[in-house]
C-alpha cells in the first residue's frame, strides 16, 4: 500500500468558535499505479484530504501511513512531500524563474544536486510531460501557452521523482487543446511510468474516461468509493450532493426512460454509439 489514511479526522481552528470539521472519519488507501479521481462539491474537503496525503496537514485524530510507515513517527513529513508531489490549482502562478529549465530545476538546486545531474533530470521530466528539452529549456515561462505553463509546473514536481502525483483541477481554464495535452500526458505517466495519480476534477466527462477508481467526498466524508461505472450509476445521489454525471450517462438514462434498452454505464463515445446502434437495429428488425 502506498498511502493509507486510518480513521482520520481533521478540524480547522479546533477549540474555537470558528472550528470547521473538514474531514470526518476518513478511511482510504491507494496502491502503486492506481489512477484515482477525487470528486466532491466545493467545500467538501478535497483540498484538505490531499494535503493529508502528502504531509502538509496533520490529522487531528487517526493516522497516515506512507509505504507502511507512520507519518511523523517512522517517516518525516518532509520526506513524504518528496514522495507525494502536489500540483496546486493554477500552478502557473508559482512559476517565477527566468527560464523553463531553471524553474523545473528549482527543487533540485535546493537539494544540492550537481549541475550535470540536474540537467539530465530536467531533460527527462520535460520529456515526460511532452515538452522538447532543446526547444523549451531557455524560454521564459511567461511566453508559454496556458497548457505549456501547466506542464512546466508539473515537470517541476516530477523532478523530485515522486511515487504519487496529486493534481488539483489541472485542466481548469485551459482550452480544449491544452486540456487534451495535459490529460493525455497524465494518462501516459500513469500507464508507462506506473506513476500513481490522484486527480481532483469538477469535469465528470473527463474524469469518467481517465480514472480507474472514483472517490466522492461530501461534507468531509467519503460518500462513495468505487469504479466510475459503479459511482456514476448512483446518478440521483450524485445530483443530490451537487455533482453530476457525464453527459453520456444523462443521455443513456433518457434513452432508457424512452424505452430503448441500453446499458447505463458507458463513458466512451464509441461504446455509447455501438450500444445505441445495436439497440436501434434490434428494434428495427
Amino acid at each position: 500500500m502506498l498511502i493509507e489514511l486510518k480513521n482520520v479526522n481533521f478540524t480547522y481552528m479546533p477549540n474555537t468558535p470558528l472550528a470547521q470539521r473538514a474531514l470526518k472519519n476518513v478511511n482510504f488507501s491507494v496502491e502503486v499505479g492506481e489512477f484515482v479521481g477525487l470528486i466532491g462539491p466545493t467545500g467538501s474537503g478535497k483540498s484538505t484530504f490531499v494535503q493529508h496525503l502528502n504531509g502538509l496537514l496533520k490529522p487531528l485524530e487517526g493516522e497516515v501511513l506512507v509505504e507502511g510507515k507512520r507519518m511523523g513517527e517512522e517517516i518525516s513529513p518532509f520526506l513524504v512531500r518528496r514522495k507525494v508531489g502536489l500540483v496546486f490549482q493554477f500552478p502557473e502562478n508559482q512559476l517565477f524563474e527566468e527560464t523553463v529549465s531553471r524553474d523545473v530545476a528549482f527543487g533540485l538546486h535546493n537539494l544540492g544536486w550537481a549541475e550535470d545531474e540536474i540537467e539530465k533530470r530536467v531533460r527527462s521530466v520535460l520529456e515526460m510531460v511532452g515538452l522538447d528539452y532543446c526547444k523549451f529549456k531557455d524560454r521564459s515561462p511567461f511566453t508559454l501557452s496556458g497548457g505549456e505553463m501547466r506542464r512546466v509546473a508539473i515537470a517541476g514536481v516530477l523532478a523530485m521523482n515522486p511515487s504519487c502525483l496529486i493534481l488539483d483541477e489541472p485542466a481548469s481554464g485551459l482550452d480544449s487543446i491544452g486540456k487534451r495535452e495535459i490529460l493525455a500526458n497524465l494518462e501516459r505517466l500513469n500507464k508507462e511510468n506506473n506513476l500513481t495519480i490522484i486527480l481532483i476534477s469538477h469535469d465528470m466527462d473527463e474524469i469518467s474516461r481517465l480514472a480507474g477508481r472514483l472517490v466522492v467526498l461530501n461534507e468531509g466524508r467519503i460518500e462513495f468509493d468505487g469504479s466510475p461505472r459503479k459511482v456514476f450509476s448512483l446518478r440521483d445521489d450524485l445530483i443530490k450532493i451537487g455533482l453530476d454525471t457525464p453527459e453520456f450517462t444523462s443521455l443513456l438514462v433518457a434513452l432508457k426512460k424512452g424505452g430503448l434498452d441500453v446499458p447505463l454505464d458507458l463513458f466512451e463515445l464509441n461504446e455509447v454509439k455501438d450500444a445505441i446502434v445495436s439497440v436501434l437495429k434490434r428494434r428495427g428488425s
Binding site: 466532491g40 466545493t42 480544449s176 455533482l243 453527459e247 430503448l260 463515445l269
Partner: protein
Amino acid sequence: MIEISNLTHIYKQANREIVALDDVSFDIEEGKFIVFVGRNGSGKSTLAKHLNGLIVPTKGTVKVDGLGTDVEENLWKVRQRVGMIFQNPDNQIVATIVEEDVAFGPENLGVPREEIRKRIDEALENVHMLEYARFEPHLLSGGQKQKVAIAGVLAMKPKYLILDEPTSMLDPRGRKEVMDTLRKLNNEQGMTVVLITHRSEEAIYADQVVAMNHGNIVFEAPPRDFFAEKKLLEELGVDLPPISLLGWELKKDGYDIPTVLSAEELAGILCLLN
C-alpha cells in the same frame, strides 16, 4: 448597443509588441446573449476588458450607447452601464457581509441610502441569494460567491453584463446556478449578456456564438449552425459538446440525425427513430 469598430490592441512589452486584437469589428445589440469561444491567447479577455473601458484601443473605437471608452469623461457612465465578472469569485468580493458587498457598487455611484437597500434586495433576489444577505462570504460555496459577485454588479443596474470564464472554478452545481441565473436575467429582464467560456455546453443557450482566433473574430453563428461546423471548430481548438459529437458519429452510420446540442434533444430524436 456596444459598437466595436476596427479595434486593434497591442500590448507593449520591454522588447516586443503583442498584437492581441487585430482590427476587430462587432456590434453587441441590446437584449442579446452572446458567447465568445476560442483557444487560450486568442484575445477574448482583451476584448472583454475593452467593453467597460478597463483598457482602451490602440487603434479603432469601442462605443457603449454612443459613449467612446477612450474619452476619460465617459468612463464613469460606461462602467455604470457595463458590469464585469471574472473567473475567480474570491478576488471579487471585498466586504465581510454579503449585503455590504452588494452595496459597494451603488454606494460608489452615490445612490441614496433608501434606494441602495432596495437595490440590494432586488439584486440578491435576482440571483436567489436573498436569504444569504447577512452571511459572511467565506461561508459560501464557489457558485454562491460568484452569484454574490453578479448581484454586486446588478445592484449598479447595468445594461450589459460581461462575464469572463465565470464558471471555470466552480463545481457542477455552481456552474448550473450561474448559468440558470444568466439565462433568467437575459430571458426575463432583457439583460444583455456577453459570456466567455471554454465549455461548449454553456454556449448552447446563446443567440450567437462567436469564435476568436489570433486576435480576430473568425466565425459567428447561432449555436446550432455554429456547432455544425465540426471541422472548422477543431481547427480553432473549440470543443464540440460530447452529445453533438455522438450525433455526428451516428449520422456517419447512416442515421438521420440533425445537429444536436443536448442529451435530452438527442434522446428525443433517437426514441422516435424508425
